[in-house]
Amino acid sequence: MERYIDGEAEAFELLYRRVSPNLMGYLLRLTRNRERAEDLLQITFSKVHRARGSFLRGAPVLPWILAIARRSFLDERRSAQVRTEDLSPDGSLPEQQNDDRPLPAELSDALDVALGRLPENYREAIVLTKITGLSVAEAASVLGATETAVKLRVHRGYTQLRKELEQYSRTS
């Protein structure tokens, strides 16, 4: 990151290769839509590029970039909420579909679907600590929460995941 701040283009490419898979995984699980996740990835990196001068040297890079990605996601969602919604042919607002389909047969797919069904704050805490590999302290700094709150969210998320996956083990 510091070499990138100093103007080395190769350093950015190296940073991108290291950070983008984790960032993409996080955004995919936040948005549950590949196109939106890729849009947000571009927005995030453009913000990182603009704000590279304000990065405090020596700070961990991934939590900083993840926090920017999360802020971009929240901003995008906020602006989407005030956007006009297309009405259905009978003139009513489209209803949100509840995802109550049975879990897929493959365990990894079932886990992905079960993860997607978790409440957002549980899902975020699990994705950051379990998939992205952040420490609890780093995840707390990304989420703007206390470490205890993150531990609690992970624990509750685990409990809910276990319940969902019990259904998988019964059917398989």
């Binding site: 701040i5 950015f12 995984g25 890729e38 700070a59 624990h155």
Partner: protein, 234 residues
């Protein structure tokens, strides 16, 4: 959940991180490396010093103004003592609210507590500093009201300079809790402005201090909350 407990879902095939599409990657790398040049930002210590310098500059101007308008020596001295003590408080608030330790910002709950305690403490200080009291109906019109109004405007201007310097010095550094940090910047600015006006203003009447000097802190805190996300988030 304790960190000593075994992970109950450790054996699950957790999704692996996924690389973005090649087209997106090429677009990002192209945009971020085009005409890339060094962009060195200030260190946390420099940013903190800059904010305190601006606060000191505003207080010095108010002192010069007070001397020029023949304010009593005792009043000037009390104002300067107050500004020095509150300058230390401002430094502590900036350190807790903005400067990261080991790269991460301090606990959010501590910063929330600071945002609650700081204005309460400052209004308490103003109440302590008030030497006289007139009923509100006497204060609310005539010369007292117009003096409070002009004092309030000057405090607002000074506070906006100090608070603005905090927001600009730490611009784009807080992607996590920018509104909270914006509120703290507003409070720091409000305290700076009120103290500067306190050096140059001869009034020690309670209503005057609460409204013309104290309300500015709350007003700038609200303003900081409003602009924090835009200015402090990268």
């Amino acid at each position: 959940m304790s960190t000593q407990n075994p992970d109950p879902l450790a054996d699950l095939p957790w999704p692996k991180p996924e690389a973005p599409g090649d087209a997106v990657s090429a677009k990002i790398c192209g945009a971020c490396t085009k005409n890339l040049c060094a962009k060195r930002g200030l260190s946390a210590v420099s940013r903190l010093s800059l904010c305190l310098f601006v606060s000191g500059l505003v207080a010095s101007y108010a002192y010069w103004f007070g001397v020029r308008h023949h304010r009593s020596e005792l009043g000037l001295r009390m104002g300067v003592y107050g500004a020095v003590v509150w300058g230390l408080v401002q430094a502590a608030v900036l350190y807790v609210g903005f400067a990261p330790r080991r790269g991460l910002l301090g606990s959010r709950s501590v910063r929330v507590a600071v945002a609650v305690v700081l204005p309460v403490l400052f209004l308490g200080y103003l109440s302590y500093a008030a030497w006289s009291y007139v009923p509100f109906d006497q204060f609310s019109h005539g010369a007292r009201a117009s003096h409070a109004f002009s004092c309030g405007l000057i405090a607002l201007l000074f506070g906006a300079i100090v608070g603005g310097s905090v927001l600009l010095a730490w611009r784009g550094t807080n992607p996590v809790t920018p509104r909270l940090s914006g509120t703290l910047a507003g409070f720091v600015g409000g305290v700076g402005g009120a103290l500067a006006v306190g050096i140059g203003c001869p009034s020690h009447e309670a209503w005057h201090l609460w409204t013309a000097h104290g309300l500015i802190v709350l007003a700038l805190g609200l303003l900081g909350f409003g602009v924090g996300r835009r200015l402090l988030s990268p």
